[in-house]
Protein backbone atom coordinates (compact mmCIF):
# COMPACT_ATOMS: atom_id res chain seq x y z
CA UNK A 1 0.00 0.00 0.00
CA UNK A 2 1.31 3.36 -0.89
CA UNK A 3 0.48 6.96 -0.64
CA UNK A 4 0.07 8.49 2.71
CA UNK A 5 1.68 11.73 1.77
CA UNK A 6 0.00 14.73 0.27
CA UNK A 7 -3.52 14.98 1.46
CA UNK A 8 -5.66 16.70 -1.14
CA UNK A 9 -4.45 20.13 -2.10
CA UNK A 10 -7.29 22.41 -2.99
CA UNK A 11 -6.39 23.55 -6.43
CA UNK A 12 -8.58 23.25 -9.43
CA UNK A 13 -10.76 20.69 -7.71
CA UNK A 14 -14.23 20.69 -6.72
CA UNK A 15 -16.24 22.71 -9.17
CA UNK A 16 -17.03 25.80 -7.21
CA UNK A 17 -19.11 27.65 -9.69
CA UNK A 18 -22.83 27.58 -10.31
CA UNK A 19 -25.39 27.31 -7.60
CA UNK A 20 -26.84 24.14 -9.04
CA UNK A 21 -23.71 22.19 -8.21
CA UNK A 22 -23.92 23.09 -4.56
CA UNK A 23 -26.78 20.77 -3.87
CA UNK A 24 -25.50 17.22 -3.85
CA UNK A 25 -27.93 15.04 -5.83
CA UNK A 26 -29.33 12.03 -3.94
CA UNK A 27 -27.79 9.69 -6.47
CA UNK A 28 -24.35 10.99 -5.57
CA UNK A 29 -25.08 10.37 -1.90
CA UNK A 30 -25.93 6.81 -2.83
CA UNK A 31 -22.65 6.57 -4.77
CA UNK A 32 -20.78 7.51 -1.64
CA UNK A 33 -22.81 5.72 0.98
CA UNK A 34 -22.79 2.29 -0.64
CA UNK A 35 -18.99 1.84 -0.62
CA UNK A 36 -18.75 3.58 2.71
CA UNK A 37 -21.26 1.18 4.23
CA UNK A 38 -19.30 -1.80 2.90
CA UNK A 39 -16.12 -0.52 4.44
CA UNK A 40 -17.75 0.44 7.73
CA UNK A 41 -19.30 -2.98 8.02
CA UNK A 42 -16.23 -5.02 7.05
CA UNK A 43 -13.47 -2.92 8.53
CA UNK A 44 -14.56 -0.54 11.24
CA UNK A 45 -17.23 -2.73 12.80
CA UNK A 46 -14.87 -5.72 13.12
CA UNK A 47 -12.16 -3.44 14.47
CA UNK A 48 -14.45 -2.28 17.25
CA UNK A 49 -15.58 -5.82 17.90
CA UNK A 50 -12.03 -6.95 18.17
CA UNK A 51 -11.31 -4.25 20.69
CA UNK A 52 -14.21 -5.23 22.93
CA UNK A 53 -13.42 -8.94 22.53
CA UNK A 54 -9.97 -8.31 23.89
CA UNK A 55 -11.51 -7.67 27.32
CA UNK A 56 -13.22 -11.05 27.40
CA UNK A 57 -12.45 -14.70 27.56
CA UNK A 58 -14.20 -16.66 24.86
CA UNK A 59 -13.70 -19.98 23.11
CA UNK A 60 -16.26 -19.21 20.43
CA UNK A 61 -19.11 -21.18 21.98
CA UNK A 62 -21.70 -19.68 24.32
CA UNK A 63 -21.26 -16.23 25.74
CA UNK A 64 -18.02 -14.37 26.22
CA UNK A 65 -16.99 -13.78 29.83
CA UNK A 66 -15.76 -10.29 30.55
CA UNK A 67 -12.38 -10.38 32.26
CA UNK A 68 -11.32 -6.74 32.26
CA UNK A 69 -7.61 -6.22 31.68
CA UNK A 70 -6.71 -9.86 32.36
CA UNK A 71 -5.77 -10.65 28.75
CA UNK A 72 -3.42 -7.72 28.65
CA UNK A 73 -1.85 -8.70 31.97
CA UNK A 74 -1.43 -12.23 30.67
CA UNK A 75 0.19 -10.86 27.55
CA UNK A 76 2.84 -8.96 29.50
CA UNK A 77 3.73 -12.11 31.41
CA UNK A 78 3.74 -14.33 28.32
CA UNK A 79 7.28 -15.22 27.21
CA UNK A 80 6.10 -16.04 23.68
CA UNK A 81 4.57 -12.60 23.42
CA UNK A 82 7.90 -11.11 24.44
CA UNK A 83 9.67 -13.13 21.73
CA UNK A 84 7.08 -12.19 19.16
CA UNK A 85 7.37 -8.54 20.08
CA UNK A 86 11.17 -8.62 19.93
CA UNK A 87 10.98 -10.43 16.58
CA UNK A 88 8.62 -7.79 15.28
CA UNK A 89 11.12 -5.09 16.19
CA UNK A 90 13.92 -7.04 14.50
CA UNK A 91 11.62 -7.52 11.55
CA UNK A 92 10.78 -3.84 11.13
CA UNK A 93 14.44 -2.85 11.36
CA UNK A 94 15.93 -5.75 9.39
CA UNK A 95 13.29 -6.08 6.72
CA UNK A 96 12.82 -2.33 6.38
CA UNK A 97 16.50 -1.45 6.54
CA UNK A 98 17.75 -4.09 4.13
CA UNK A 99 15.05 -3.59 1.55
CA UNK A 100 15.38 0.21 1.61
CA UNK A 101 19.18 0.13 1.35
CA UNK A 102 19.08 -2.58 -1.32
CA UNK A 103 16.30 -0.93 -3.27
CA UNK A 104 17.94 2.50 -3.18
CA UNK A 105 21.35 1.12 -4.20
CA UNK A 106 19.86 -0.78 -7.12
CA UNK A 107 17.78 2.21 -8.19
CA UNK A 108 20.89 4.40 -8.28
CA UNK A 109 22.83 1.74 -10.17
CA UNK A 110 20.06 1.16 -12.70
CA UNK A 111 18.84 4.73 -13.02
CA UNK A 112 20.57 5.66 -16.26
CA UNK A 113 19.20 3.83 -19.28
CA UNK A 114 21.62 1.64 -21.16
CA UNK A 115 22.06 -1.75 -22.66
CA UNK A 116 20.63 -4.50 -20.48
CA UNK A 117 19.30 -2.16 -17.82
CA UNK A 118 15.71 -3.04 -18.63
CA UNK A 119 16.47 -6.73 -18.21
CA UNK A 120 18.18 -6.17 -14.87
CA UNK A 121 15.27 -4.12 -13.63
CA UNK A 122 12.69 -6.70 -14.68
CA UNK A 123 14.70 -9.48 -13.08
CA UNK A 124 14.89 -7.61 -9.82
CA UNK A 125 11.23 -6.84 -9.58
CA UNK A 126 10.06 -10.18 -10.87
CA UNK A 127 9.95 -11.72 -7.34
CA UNK A 128 7.40 -9.10 -6.39
CA UNK A 129 4.67 -10.78 -8.44
CA UNK A 130 5.19 -14.07 -6.66
CA UNK A 131 2.94 -14.34 -3.64
CA UNK A 132 4.48 -14.28 -0.20
CA UNK A 133 3.19 -17.79 0.40
CA UNK A 134 4.88 -19.08 -2.76
CA UNK A 135 8.03 -17.11 -1.93
CA UNK A 136 8.02 -18.93 1.38
CA UNK A 137 7.79 -22.29 -0.36
CA UNK A 138 10.53 -21.40 -2.86
CA UNK A 139 12.88 -20.49 -0.07
CA UNK A 140 11.96 -23.52 1.99
CA UNK A 141 13.31 -25.56 -0.90
CA UNK A 142 16.42 -23.37 -1.03
CA UNK A 143 17.13 -23.84 2.66
CA UNK A 144 16.65 -27.61 2.77
CA UNK A 145 19.60 -29.62 4.02
CA UNK A 146 21.53 -30.53 0.89
CA UNK A 147 19.74 -27.77 -0.99
CA UNK A 148 21.41 -25.08 -3.06
CA UNK A 149 22.38 -22.82 -0.18
CA UNK A 150 24.23 -25.62 1.55
CA UNK A 151 25.75 -26.84 -1.70
CA UNK A 152 26.75 -23.31 -2.60
CA UNK A 153 28.45 -22.79 0.73
CA UNK A 154 30.23 -26.12 0.31
CA UNK A 155 31.39 -25.15 -3.16
CA UNK A 156 33.03 -21.93 -1.99
CA UNK A 157 34.71 -23.66 0.93
CA UNK A 158 32.38 -22.52 3.69
CA UNK A 159 31.05 -26.01 4.33
CA UNK A 160 31.31 -25.42 8.06
CA UNK A 161 28.43 -22.95 7.87
CA UNK A 162 26.04 -25.56 6.51
CA UNK A 163 23.12 -26.10 8.82
CA UNK A 164 19.41 -26.66 9.16
CA UNK A 165 18.61 -23.05 8.42
CA UNK A 166 14.92 -23.17 9.24
CA UNK A 167 15.12 -25.66 12.09
CA UNK A 168 17.87 -23.88 13.96
CA UNK A 169 16.35 -21.38 16.41
CA UNK A 170 19.34 -19.05 15.92
CA UNK A 171 19.03 -18.72 12.17
CA UNK A 172 15.36 -19.34 11.39
CA UNK A 173 14.13 -15.77 11.78
CA UNK A 174 16.92 -14.35 9.64
CA UNK A 175 16.43 -17.05 7.03
CA UNK A 176 12.79 -15.98 6.70
CA UNK A 177 13.81 -12.33 6.71
CA UNK A 178 16.16 -12.81 3.75
CA UNK A 179 13.37 -14.40 1.74
CA UNK A 180 11.02 -11.51 2.53
CA UNK A 181 13.66 -8.92 1.62
CA UNK A 182 14.31 -10.69 -1.67
CA UNK A 183 10.72 -10.05 -2.62
CA UNK A 184 10.47 -6.50 -1.28
CA UNK A 185 13.63 -4.97 -2.78
CA UNK A 186 12.16 -4.75 -6.28
CA UNK A 187 9.20 -2.76 -5.02
CA UNK A 188 11.36 -0.23 -3.20
CA UNK A 189 13.61 -0.02 -6.26
CA UNK A 190 10.66 0.88 -8.49
CA UNK A 191 9.61 3.63 -6.10
CA UNK A 192 13.12 5.09 -5.98
CA UNK A 193 13.59 4.81 -9.74
CA UNK A 194 10.53 6.98 -10.19
CA UNK A 195 11.85 9.41 -7.63
CA UNK A 196 15.23 9.63 -9.35
CA UNK A 197 13.54 10.28 -12.67
CA UNK A 198 11.97 13.34 -11.09
CA UNK A 199 15.33 14.73 -9.93
CA UNK A 200 16.85 17.61 -11.83
CA UNK A 201 20.06 16.38 -13.53
CA UNK A 202 21.42 19.90 -14.01
CA UNK A 203 21.80 20.32 -10.26
CA UNK A 204 24.04 17.30 -10.16
CA UNK A 205 26.06 18.52 -13.12
CA UNK A 206 26.54 21.87 -11.46
CA UNK A 207 27.76 20.15 -8.30
CA UNK A 208 30.13 18.02 -10.37
CA UNK A 209 31.54 21.13 -12.02
CA UNK A 210 32.08 22.60 -8.58
CA UNK A 211 34.15 19.55 -7.73
CA UNK A 212 31.76 17.56 -5.54
CA UNK A 213 32.59 13.85 -5.35
CA UNK A 214 30.02 11.27 -6.39
CA UNK A 215 29.35 10.49 -2.74
CA UNK A 216 28.76 14.16 -1.86
CA UNK A 217 26.59 14.66 -4.92
CA UNK A 218 24.43 11.75 -3.88
CA UNK A 219 23.94 12.77 -0.26
CA UNK A 220 23.84 16.52 -0.65
CA UNK A 221 22.15 16.94 -4.01
CA UNK A 222 20.13 13.87 -4.88
CA UNK A 223 18.89 12.75 -1.46
CA UNK A 224 17.22 16.05 -0.53
CA UNK A 225 15.26 15.84 -3.79
CA UNK A 226 14.03 12.38 -2.84
CA UNK A 227 12.32 13.55 0.32
CA UNK A 228 8.81 12.85 -0.98
CA UNK A 229 9.70 9.35 -2.11
CA UNK A 230 11.40 8.68 1.20
CA UNK A 231 8.17 9.41 3.03
CA UNK A 232 6.26 6.98 0.83
CA UNK A 233 8.93 4.31 1.16
CA UNK A 234 8.97 4.71 4.91
CA UNK A 235 5.19 4.36 5.16
CA UNK A 236 5.13 1.36 2.82
CA UNK A 237 7.90 -0.37 4.71
CA UNK A 238 6.42 0.10 8.15
CA UNK A 239 2.96 -1.00 7.00
CA UNK A 240 4.28 -4.03 5.14
CA UNK A 241 6.46 -5.13 8.00
CA UNK A 242 3.65 -4.90 10.52
CA UNK A 243 1.45 -6.95 8.21
CA UNK A 244 3.91 -9.74 7.59
CA UNK A 245 2.18 -13.04 8.10
CA UNK A 246 2.05 -15.18 4.97
CA UNK A 247 5.73 -15.76 4.52
CA UNK A 248 6.37 -16.73 8.12
CA UNK A 249 3.34 -18.98 8.11
CA UNK A 250 4.44 -20.67 4.88
CA UNK A 251 8.02 -21.17 6.01
CA UNK A 252 7.95 -21.97 9.72
CA UNK A 253 4.49 -21.35 11.24
CA UNK A 254 6.28 -19.50 14.00
CA UNK A 255 8.53 -22.42 14.91
CA UNK A 256 11.01 -23.80 15.88
CA UNK A 257 10.02 -23.31 19.51
CA UNK A 258 8.23 -20.06 18.68
CA UNK A 259 11.48 -18.39 17.69
CA UNK A 260 10.10 -16.96 14.47
CA UNK A 261 6.75 -15.99 15.93
CA UNK A 262 5.63 -12.49 14.97
CA UNK A 263 2.70 -10.77 16.63
CA UNK A 264 0.52 -11.61 13.63
CA UNK A 265 1.35 -15.31 13.55
CA UNK A 266 1.11 -15.70 17.31
CA UNK A 267 -2.24 -13.98 17.25
CA UNK A 268 -3.43 -16.26 14.45
CA UNK A 269 -2.30 -19.31 16.37
CA UNK A 270 -4.03 -18.20 19.57
CA UNK A 271 -7.20 -17.10 17.84
CA UNK A 272 -7.69 -19.82 15.24
CA UNK A 273 -5.63 -22.86 16.16
CA UNK A 274 -6.17 -22.68 19.91
CA UNK A 275 -9.45 -20.71 19.76
CA UNK A 276 -8.61 -18.28 22.56
CA UNK A 277 -10.58 -15.52 20.91
CA UNK A 278 -10.28 -12.98 23.71
CA UNK A 279 -6.55 -13.41 24.16
CA UNK A 280 -6.02 -13.47 20.40
CA UNK A 281 -7.81 -10.13 20.06
CA UNK A 282 -5.75 -8.60 22.83
CA UNK A 283 -2.58 -9.71 21.01
CA UNK A 284 -3.80 -8.16 17.80
CA UNK A 285 -4.11 -4.79 19.46
Amino acid sequence: MTAVQDAPVRTGAPPRHGRRRRRVPPLVWAFLLLPLAVELFWVFWPAMNSFSLSFTEWNGVGAATPVGWENYERMLADPVFATAFRNNVIWVIGFGGLSVVGGLALAVALNRPGRGVGIYRSAIYLPMVISLAVTGLLWRVMYQPGGPIDSGLGAIGLGSLQQQWLANPDTALYAVLIAAVWRQVGYIMVLYLAGLKGCDPTLEEAAAVDGATAWQRFWRVVMPQLRGVNTVVFAVTVIDSLRTFDIVWAMTRGGPYNTTQLLSTYMFQQGFTLVNLGYGSALAW
Binding site: M1, P25, F31, S264, F268, S281
Partner: protein, 273 residues
Protein backbone atom coordinates in the same frame (compact mmCIF):
# COMPACT_ATOMS: atom_id res chain seq x y z
CA UNK B 1 25.73 13.13 -17.21
CA UNK B 2 26.21 11.02 -20.31
CA UNK B 3 29.42 9.38 -19.19
CA UNK B 4 29.86 5.84 -20.42
CA UNK B 5 29.32 3.05 -17.95
CA UNK B 6 32.43 1.24 -16.92
CA UNK B 7 32.60 -2.39 -17.99
CA UNK B 8 32.48 -3.23 -14.29
CA UNK B 9 28.82 -2.37 -14.27
CA UNK B 10 27.91 -5.40 -16.34
CA UNK B 11 30.58 -7.53 -14.70
CA UNK B 12 28.80 -6.95 -11.38
CA UNK B 13 25.21 -6.84 -12.55
CA UNK B 14 25.14 -10.03 -14.63
CA UNK B 15 26.20 -12.38 -11.82
CA UNK B 16 24.07 -10.40 -9.38
CA UNK B 17 20.97 -10.75 -11.55
CA UNK B 18 21.58 -14.47 -12.00
CA UNK B 19 21.98 -14.87 -8.25
CA UNK B 20 18.81 -12.87 -7.75
CA UNK B 21 16.88 -15.19 -10.04
CA UNK B 22 18.59 -18.28 -8.63
CA UNK B 23 15.70 -19.29 -6.37
CA UNK B 24 13.32 -19.25 -9.32
CA UNK B 25 15.70 -21.06 -11.66
CA UNK B 26 16.47 -23.61 -9.01
CA UNK B 27 12.83 -24.33 -8.29
CA UNK B 28 12.20 -24.84 -12.00
CA UNK B 29 15.01 -27.39 -12.03
CA UNK B 30 13.66 -29.19 -8.97
CA UNK B 31 10.18 -29.28 -10.44
CA UNK B 32 11.52 -31.02 -13.54
CA UNK B 33 13.32 -33.83 -11.68
CA UNK B 34 11.76 -37.06 -10.54
CA UNK B 35 11.44 -38.09 -6.94
CA UNK B 36 14.01 -40.90 -7.04
CA UNK B 37 16.61 -38.64 -8.57
CA UNK B 38 16.17 -36.10 -5.77
CA UNK B 39 16.20 -38.82 -3.13
CA UNK B 40 19.33 -40.43 -4.54
CA UNK B 41 21.45 -37.44 -5.47
CA UNK B 42 20.22 -34.73 -3.13
CA UNK B 43 18.27 -31.57 -3.66
CA UNK B 44 21.22 -29.46 -4.72
CA UNK B 45 22.33 -31.66 -7.63
CA UNK B 46 21.70 -30.79 -11.25
CA UNK B 47 18.91 -32.80 -12.88
CA UNK B 48 19.92 -36.14 -14.39
CA UNK B 49 16.89 -36.15 -16.66
CA UNK B 50 13.86 -33.98 -17.13
CA UNK B 51 10.36 -35.19 -16.36
CA UNK B 52 6.98 -33.65 -15.81
CA UNK B 53 6.19 -36.13 -13.04
CA UNK B 54 6.12 -33.38 -10.40
CA UNK B 55 3.58 -31.39 -12.33
CA UNK B 56 1.50 -34.49 -12.96
CA UNK B 57 1.39 -35.35 -9.25
CA UNK B 58 0.68 -31.77 -8.22
CA UNK B 59 -2.20 -31.51 -10.64
CA UNK B 60 -3.51 -35.02 -9.98
CA UNK B 61 -6.84 -35.24 -8.24
CA UNK B 62 -7.76 -31.85 -9.61
CA UNK B 63 -7.24 -30.05 -6.29
CA UNK B 64 -4.77 -27.58 -7.69
CA UNK B 65 -6.96 -27.02 -10.72
CA UNK B 66 -10.00 -26.38 -8.50
CA UNK B 67 -7.96 -24.03 -6.38
CA UNK B 68 -6.81 -22.11 -9.44
CA UNK B 69 -10.42 -21.81 -10.56
CA UNK B 70 -11.41 -20.57 -7.09
CA UNK B 71 -8.64 -18.02 -7.16
CA UNK B 72 -9.70 -16.85 -10.58
CA UNK B 73 -13.34 -16.41 -9.53
CA UNK B 74 -12.44 -14.58 -6.33
CA UNK B 75 -9.88 -12.36 -8.01
CA UNK B 76 -12.07 -11.33 -10.92
CA UNK B 77 -15.15 -10.67 -8.78
CA UNK B 78 -13.25 -8.83 -6.07
CA UNK B 79 -11.26 -6.66 -8.47
CA UNK B 80 -14.31 -5.66 -10.48
CA UNK B 81 -16.49 -5.04 -7.43
CA UNK B 82 -13.93 -3.08 -5.48
CA UNK B 83 -12.91 -0.88 -8.40
CA UNK B 84 -16.56 -0.20 -9.24
CA UNK B 85 -17.42 0.80 -5.69
CA UNK B 86 -14.22 2.76 -5.25
CA UNK B 87 -14.87 4.67 -8.47
CA UNK B 88 -18.36 5.60 -7.27
CA UNK B 89 -17.09 6.83 -3.94
CA UNK B 90 -14.17 8.68 -5.50
CA UNK B 91 -16.50 10.39 -7.97
CA UNK B 92 -18.84 11.51 -5.22
CA UNK B 93 -15.98 12.76 -3.06
CA UNK B 94 -13.96 14.45 -5.76
CA UNK B 95 -16.65 16.11 -7.84
CA UNK B 96 -19.35 17.06 -5.38
CA UNK B 97 -19.45 19.28 -2.36
CA UNK B 98 -20.05 16.62 0.19
CA UNK B 99 -19.58 17.89 3.73
CA UNK B 100 -16.37 16.67 5.42
CA UNK B 101 -15.32 14.91 2.23
CA UNK B 102 -11.66 15.13 3.05
CA UNK B 103 -12.16 13.53 6.45
CA UNK B 104 -14.27 10.75 4.94
CA UNK B 105 -11.55 10.03 2.41
CA UNK B 106 -8.78 9.90 4.98
CA UNK B 107 -10.84 7.74 7.33
CA UNK B 108 -11.51 5.30 4.49
CA UNK B 109 -7.80 5.18 3.69
CA UNK B 110 -6.82 4.78 7.32
CA UNK B 111 -9.23 1.85 7.67
CA UNK B 112 -7.35 -0.01 4.96
CA UNK B 113 -3.98 0.62 6.48
CA UNK B 114 -4.89 -1.19 9.70
CA UNK B 115 -2.95 -4.42 10.12
CA UNK B 116 -5.39 -7.14 9.07
CA UNK B 117 -4.73 -9.28 12.11
CA UNK B 118 -6.88 -6.95 14.21
CA UNK B 119 -9.88 -7.83 12.09
CA UNK B 120 -9.44 -11.55 11.59
CA UNK B 121 -11.38 -12.92 14.53
CA UNK B 122 -14.42 -10.62 14.25
CA UNK B 123 -14.55 -11.00 10.46
CA UNK B 124 -14.63 -14.74 10.81
CA UNK B 125 -17.42 -14.45 13.44
CA UNK B 126 -19.41 -12.02 11.29
CA UNK B 127 -19.29 -14.29 8.26
CA UNK B 128 -20.44 -17.16 10.46
CA UNK B 129 -23.39 -15.25 11.83
CA UNK B 130 -24.39 -14.14 8.33
CA UNK B 131 -24.26 -17.75 7.19
CA UNK B 132 -21.69 -17.03 4.50
CA UNK B 133 -18.70 -18.49 6.33
CA UNK B 134 -16.73 -20.89 4.14
CA UNK B 135 -18.04 -19.52 0.87
CA UNK B 136 -16.13 -17.78 -1.88
CA UNK B 137 -18.66 -14.98 -1.63
CA UNK B 138 -17.44 -14.19 1.87
CA UNK B 139 -13.86 -14.00 0.66
CA UNK B 140 -14.85 -11.62 -2.16
CA UNK B 141 -16.77 -9.35 0.21
CA UNK B 142 -13.93 -9.23 2.71
CA UNK B 143 -11.40 -8.45 0.01
CA UNK B 144 -13.61 -5.68 -1.33
CA UNK B 145 -14.11 -4.14 2.10
CA UNK B 146 -10.45 -4.29 2.87
CA UNK B 147 -9.24 -2.75 -0.39
CA UNK B 148 -11.83 -0.04 -0.96
CA UNK B 149 -10.23 2.77 1.00
CA UNK B 150 -6.95 2.61 -0.84
CA UNK B 151 -8.51 2.36 -4.30
CA UNK B 152 -10.87 5.21 -3.49
CA UNK B 153 -7.96 7.36 -2.38
CA UNK B 154 -6.01 6.75 -5.57
CA UNK B 155 -8.98 7.25 -7.87
CA UNK B 156 -9.96 10.37 -5.97
CA UNK B 157 -6.55 11.87 -6.70
CA UNK B 158 -6.95 11.05 -10.35
CA UNK B 159 -10.51 12.35 -10.71
CA UNK B 160 -9.70 15.58 -8.93
CA UNK B 161 -7.18 16.32 -11.68
CA UNK B 162 -9.72 15.95 -14.49
CA UNK B 163 -10.47 19.30 -16.11
CA UNK B 164 -13.47 21.14 -14.64
CA UNK B 165 -14.60 22.30 -18.09
CA UNK B 166 -15.62 18.79 -19.07
CA UNK B 167 -17.99 18.61 -16.13
CA UNK B 168 -19.42 22.05 -16.76
CA UNK B 169 -20.10 21.11 -20.36
CA UNK B 170 -21.80 17.92 -19.25
CA UNK B 171 -23.93 19.85 -16.81
CA UNK B 172 -24.97 22.38 -19.44
CA UNK B 173 -25.97 19.57 -21.72
CA UNK B 174 -28.25 18.30 -19.00
CA UNK B 175 -26.29 15.21 -18.06
CA UNK B 176 -27.18 13.88 -14.60
CA UNK B 177 -24.71 12.57 -12.07
CA UNK B 178 -25.20 8.96 -13.13
CA UNK B 179 -24.70 9.64 -16.80
CA UNK B 180 -21.71 11.91 -16.20
CA UNK B 181 -20.11 9.17 -14.16
CA UNK B 182 -20.76 6.44 -16.69
CA UNK B 183 -19.98 8.18 -19.93
CA UNK B 184 -17.43 10.79 -18.89
CA UNK B 185 -15.64 9.91 -15.67
CA UNK B 186 -15.14 6.20 -16.23
CA UNK B 187 -13.68 6.50 -19.76
CA UNK B 188 -11.38 9.32 -18.65
CA UNK B 189 -10.16 7.25 -15.69
CA UNK B 190 -9.21 4.27 -17.78
CA UNK B 191 -5.44 4.55 -17.21
CA UNK B 192 -5.84 4.79 -13.45
CA UNK B 193 -8.33 1.94 -13.41
CA UNK B 194 -6.01 -0.25 -15.48
CA UNK B 195 -3.08 0.42 -13.18
CA UNK B 196 -5.11 -0.29 -10.08
CA UNK B 197 -6.61 -3.41 -11.63
CA UNK B 198 -3.17 -4.84 -12.36
CA UNK B 199 -2.06 -4.12 -8.83
CA UNK B 200 -5.25 -5.35 -7.17
CA UNK B 201 -5.17 -8.57 -9.18
CA UNK B 202 -1.80 -9.55 -7.79
CA UNK B 203 -2.74 -8.50 -4.27
CA UNK B 204 -5.97 -10.44 -4.18
CA UNK B 205 -4.64 -13.45 -6.01
CA UNK B 206 -1.66 -13.63 -3.67
CA UNK B 207 -3.63 -13.23 -0.48
CA UNK B 208 -3.40 -15.97 2.08
CA UNK B 209 -4.52 -14.59 5.40
CA UNK B 210 -8.13 -13.74 4.51
CA UNK B 211 -8.60 -17.08 2.78
CA UNK B 212 -7.47 -18.84 5.92
CA UNK B 213 -9.82 -16.67 7.96
CA UNK B 214 -13.10 -17.21 6.14
CA UNK B 215 -12.65 -20.56 4.44
CA UNK B 216 -12.49 -24.04 5.86
CA UNK B 217 -13.25 -26.64 3.21
CA UNK B 218 -10.23 -27.38 1.08
CA UNK B 219 -12.22 -27.63 -2.15
CA UNK B 220 -12.98 -23.93 -1.73
CA UNK B 221 -9.42 -22.83 -1.04
CA UNK B 222 -7.71 -20.46 -3.41
CA UNK B 223 -4.35 -21.50 -4.74
CA UNK B 224 -2.20 -19.97 -1.98
CA UNK B 225 -3.93 -21.87 0.79
CA UNK B 226 -4.19 -25.02 -1.31
CA UNK B 227 -0.44 -24.97 -1.84
CA UNK B 228 0.25 -24.99 1.85
CA UNK B 229 -2.01 -28.03 2.09
CA UNK B 230 -0.15 -29.64 -0.77
CA UNK B 231 3.03 -29.07 1.15
CA UNK B 232 1.52 -30.83 4.15
CA UNK B 233 0.50 -33.79 2.00
CA UNK B 234 3.78 -34.23 0.13
CA UNK B 235 6.17 -32.98 2.74
CA UNK B 236 9.25 -34.59 1.22
CA UNK B 237 8.34 -34.67 -2.44
CA UNK B 238 10.12 -31.45 -3.27
CA UNK B 239 9.50 -31.87 -6.98
CA UNK B 240 5.74 -31.85 -6.36
CA UNK B 241 5.91 -28.80 -4.10
CA UNK B 242 8.14 -26.96 -6.54
CA UNK B 243 5.82 -27.79 -9.43
CA UNK B 244 2.80 -26.61 -7.43
CA UNK B 245 4.53 -23.35 -6.55
CA UNK B 246 5.32 -22.70 -10.19
CA UNK B 247 1.76 -23.42 -11.25
CA UNK B 248 0.60 -20.90 -8.64
CA UNK B 249 3.10 -18.28 -9.76
CA UNK B 250 2.35 -18.52 -13.47
CA UNK B 251 -0.90 -16.50 -13.55
CA UNK B 252 0.57 -13.50 -11.73
CA UNK B 253 3.73 -13.73 -13.82
CA UNK B 254 1.56 -13.53 -16.94
CA UNK B 255 -0.34 -10.54 -15.59
CA UNK B 256 2.99 -8.98 -14.77
CA UNK B 257 4.55 -9.42 -18.19
CA UNK B 258 1.46 -8.47 -20.15
CA UNK B 259 0.62 -5.45 -18.03
CA UNK B 260 4.13 -4.53 -16.94
CA UNK B 261 3.61 -0.86 -17.75
CA UNK B 262 0.30 -0.61 -15.88
CA UNK B 263 1.75 -2.62 -13.05
CA UNK B 264 4.67 -0.29 -12.50
CA UNK B 265 2.52 2.77 -12.84
CA UNK B 266 0.11 1.15 -10.40
CA UNK B 267 2.86 0.94 -7.83
CA UNK B 268 3.65 4.58 -8.40
CA UNK B 269 0.11 5.81 -8.52
CA UNK B 270 -0.47 7.59 -5.28
CA UNK B 271 3.25 7.71 -4.62
CA UNK B 272 3.81 10.34 -7.26
CA UNK B 273 1.26 13.00 -6.65
Amino acid sequence: MRTARSPWFHAVMIPFTLLWLAPIIFVVLVALRDFDDIAARGLGALPAGLTLEGFATALAGGKVATALANSAVVTVCAVVASLALAALAAYALSRHRIPARRTILLVMLAGNLLPPQILLIPVSRITQSLGIYDTLFALVVVQVGFGLGFYTFVLHGFMRALPTEVFEAALLDGSGAGRTFWSIVLPLCRPALAALAALATTWIYNDLIWAMTVLQTDTRFPITAALLNLQGGYSNSWNVIAAGSLVAAVPTAIVFFVFQKQFVSGLLVGANK
